[in-house]
């Protein structure tokens, strides 16, 4: 088995991700209004939410790929699952760190054991343990099978994290709110809303791009493992 040449669609996605990321960054820094009570640090919000969204989407994708593996027993589903978890962890870490930096001047502390922050930290630790589990298993088949079961079970942390701000008392603002639960939501101006939606789109593109690259790496590593054994 050989590694296929880099698809041209992936190259296009690379360029598109870089260009759109730069454009959205400029949009946020220079064309969105500064929030009155928080000042410039509020601008971190756009990428903070987008990276949290990317992390959660990635973990859902990993679970879907896990189901794909258990149904078909094709190793490519395991590669997709592994890639999604790894990229999801990076996005989750970015969300946590950027949130801490945002919180410091606003809440006057880097961290509080708030339901949203706690469930996000638990979610990260659970997905981090996925790699510990895999590294302890010898055969690729066992690794793929148990890994698939693990990501399917772990996906429960995603809705738990997402709905934690609605289920429990929290100081974390509700961003995506409708009707009565939007008490602490921002009142976004049209330009803020545009930057917010653009951030979600660009982080979804970056997510797809990185997962695709990581998938190709997993494919290459599998080829080497097969050749050595």
């Amino acid at each position: 088995m050989t590694l296929h040449k880099k698809p041209s669609l992936l190259s296009i996605l690379d360029i598109l991700s870089i260009l759109l990321f730069t454009a959205v960054l400029i949009l946020i820094l220079f064309f969105t209004p500064t929030e009155l009570t928080m000042g410039p640090v509020q601008k971190v919000f756009y990428f903070h939410v987008a990276s949290a969204w990317g992390g959660m989407l990635s973990f859902i994708l990993a679970a879907a790929a896990g189901i794909g593996y258990l149904v078909t027993r094709k190793v490519r589903w395991d590669w997709l699952s592994l890639s999604s978890v790894e990229v999801g962890l990076v996005f989750g870490l970015i969300a946590i760190l950027s949130g801490m930096i945002w919180a410091q001047p606003i809440w006057n502390t880097w961290w509080v054991w708030d339901p949203r922050l706690t469930t996000t930290a638990i979610m990260e630790i659970i997905y981090l343990a996925y790699f510990i589990l895999r590294s302890g298993l010898d055969t690729p088949e066992t690794r793929a099978r148990l890994g698939a079961v693990y990501v399917i079970v772990s996906v429960i942390t995603v809705p738990l994290t997402f709905f934690s701000i609605r289920l429990f008392r929290t100081i974390h603002p509700v961003v995506i709110a409708t009707g009565g639960d939007g008490g602490s939501a921002f009142n976004m101006t049209p330009r803020m809303l545009l930057a917010f939606i653009a951030s979600l789109v660009v982080f979804t593109l970056i997510l797809a791009d990185l997962v695709w690259h990581r998938y190709r790496l997993a494919q290459l590593q599998n080829t080497i493992e097969e050749e050595v054994n």
Partner: protein
């Protein structure tokens, strides 16, 4: 008057861009290492 949180904003964006670049770099390094290993395993087989 806005509160002066400019340095926090710069740190926030620095961390976000920095971690994304770090991950991309880790992918590049691992890809190169895998390709080198592939070359070695091709020669030995």
């Amino acid at each position: 008057m806005f509160p002066n949180t400019m340095s926090n904003m710069i740190l926030g964006f620095g961390v976000i861009v920095g971690f994304l670049l770090l991950y991309v770099l880790s992918l590049v390094v691992r890809f190169r290492r895998a390709k080198i290993n592939r070359g070695i395993s091709d020669k030995t087989s």
